[in-house]
Amino acid sequence: MTTDGLALATRGLQKRYGSRPALAGLDLSVPTGVVYGFLGPNGAGKTTTMRLLTGLIHPDAGSIEVLGRPFGRRDRHRLFEVGALIESPSFYPYLNGRENLRALAATGAPVSGARIEELLELVGLRDRAKDKVQTYSLGMKQRLGIAAALLSDPRLLLLDEPANGLDPAGIVAMRETLRHLASTGKTVFVSSHVLGEVQQLADVIGIIAAGRLVREGPIGELLHGEGEVRVRVAADQVEPARTILGGLATPDAVSDGADGDGWLAVRIGAGRAADVNRALAGAGIFASGLESGSDLESLFLELTQGDGSGGHEGTFFGVAGGSR
């Protein structure tokens, strides 16, 4: 596999904690200059991947390339061009926001004092920069964590659930910041559980489950190719409609929609809603409702539920994925 033009690549990455596997051969390919949405259920291995990418832990097998060059135990200097926020932001509670950034700036790549002020402004903490971090709200700590990740103006930014605790304005501001970074050629690798947010933010997504990649690619292509179309027909026409839809896709791609009586869902490219409608009409069945559900949430649930390789994924509170 070639890794040219990639800001980040992993090949066959494996990691266990004790006897529990966290990554089972992960292959990621993150192109340069994009926002990459890194998705997966709880326990899928997202944070573990981030830890490996920042040298906090070391792989049992497999390789990592960061900014086009191999990244191993002896390559900590490569991280001078990487900024990261992993799991929860970490600060000295008794220091104020500015002092915390200064303390952090004393490590790794050199950072100017002006940069710190610029970042406090960017994340909207200028007025609170003199307050101790222990007096910050959850979202304020998160903002400071994002500022910390941006300290060295990194070419590659790794953010583990950065939207955690941010208010709506904070989320919009973060989205704009990350989009802006990508537009200047920087690469942003961001994990998130807020799929609506990822859908708006990311150019490329990778979905992992149980420590393996299950899908990766430009978000538009994935959603176009993997959507779902839902139709509502009269109760006595459900069975004929099911047959027709099964012929259009495959019989097992058709299921009862979760929205109630008369709804059928078919897993088919979302762009084919018109085909579905035409096929039904051709058989004299007129849909009283038609929706194309090509959102990230359906795709995510469909790909990550019950692949049963020992991870934490699967149904959660009894919610079945893929249909609704």
Partner: protein, 272 residues
């Protein structure tokens, strides 16, 4: 150097630095004043009157210092453990490592800042102790002529230097323990347990225990013929190392502790 300065700045801002120094000076003052006040009562029994030696210069210089180092040992192990442990508990070491910082350099320079803070703390406590002892001497009506005893004053810099090294050594012990424990609380707890465990073991195993960190630290500053506050933790002193022998042992513990802390950090999987 950036890290050293930043670490120093962090320690200066850290409440623990002041709390520990404050408690040390408070206890020292309390004891000196109390001893001076009771010992100077006309009807005090001879045993209590001996307490006046604590505020009688020049001997008071060494008593104060041995008090500071005895209690300071406990405080230094707590201080070292608190600082090393919180780096793991708060995740701040993680942030530095993720920025590409060298783990060993970060740990060693953080400890260098602790060592400097301990030195400053010992000096401040010593100065405060002298002031309080002078006050105590006045309360007890003891002459303070010995304050300027040239012979004793000449030995003080070396004693302070040795005392600093000894305190730094137990600070390093706390630093190493908390690094292994990866936790502030566990590190402090284990450090305190080590301190009392060693004091306790002195009673039974003095031949071995004299090589242990706290006993060796005490022996570094022991002046012949003078029983300090801390010697033997109240128990009988059966044997202890010669001061210079103790110096070697202390340096060995210091280097060993830092080596353990650094190697462990270097190899640790930071997954908390």
């Amino acid at each position: 150097m950036r890290i050293f300065v930043a670490s120093l700045r962090k320690l200066v801002r850290r409440p623990a630095s002041f709390v520990i120094l404050g408690i040390l000076i408070g206890l020292l003052s309390l004891i000196l004043i109390a001893v001076a006040a009771t010992a100077s009562q006309p009807d005090a029994p001879p045993g209590q009157r001996a307490g006046l030696l604590l505020v009688t210069f020049p001997g008071a210089y060494t008593s104060i210092l041995s008090f500071i180092l005895g209690l300071g040992g406990l405080f230094a192990v707590i201080y070292g453990a608190a600082i090393a442990g919180s780096e793991w508990s708060w995740g701040t070491l993680k942030s530095a490592v993720a920025r590409g910082e060298s783990r060993s350099r970060y740990q060693l320079l953080s400890f260098a800042a602790i060592a400097l803070m301990i030195g400053v703390g010992v000096l401040i406590a010593f100065g405060a102790g002298i002031v309080v002892a002078v006050i105590g001497a006045n309360i007890a009506g003891v002459s303070t002529d010995g304050l300027s005893d040239a012979e004793t004053l000449g030995t003080i810099p070396e004693l302070l230097g040795r005392g600093w090294l000894a305190t730094v050594e137990v600070g390093a012990l706390g630093f190493a323990i908390a690094t292994l424990a990866r936790s502030q609380l566990a590190g402090i707890g284990a450090g305190i347990a080590f301190f009392f465990g060693e004091q306790f073991a002195t009673i039974f195993l003095s031949d071995v225990v004299k090589y242990m960190p706290f006993n060796a630290a005490n022996a570094v500053v022991a002046t012949p013929g003078e029983g300090g506050f801390s010697d033997g933790g109240g128990g009988p002193v059966i044997s202890s190392l010669e001061p210079n022998e103790a110096l070697v042992v202390v340096v060995a513990w210091l280097v060993g502790s830092l080596l353990v802390a650094t190697l462990f950090t270097e190899r640790a999987e930071i997954s908390g």
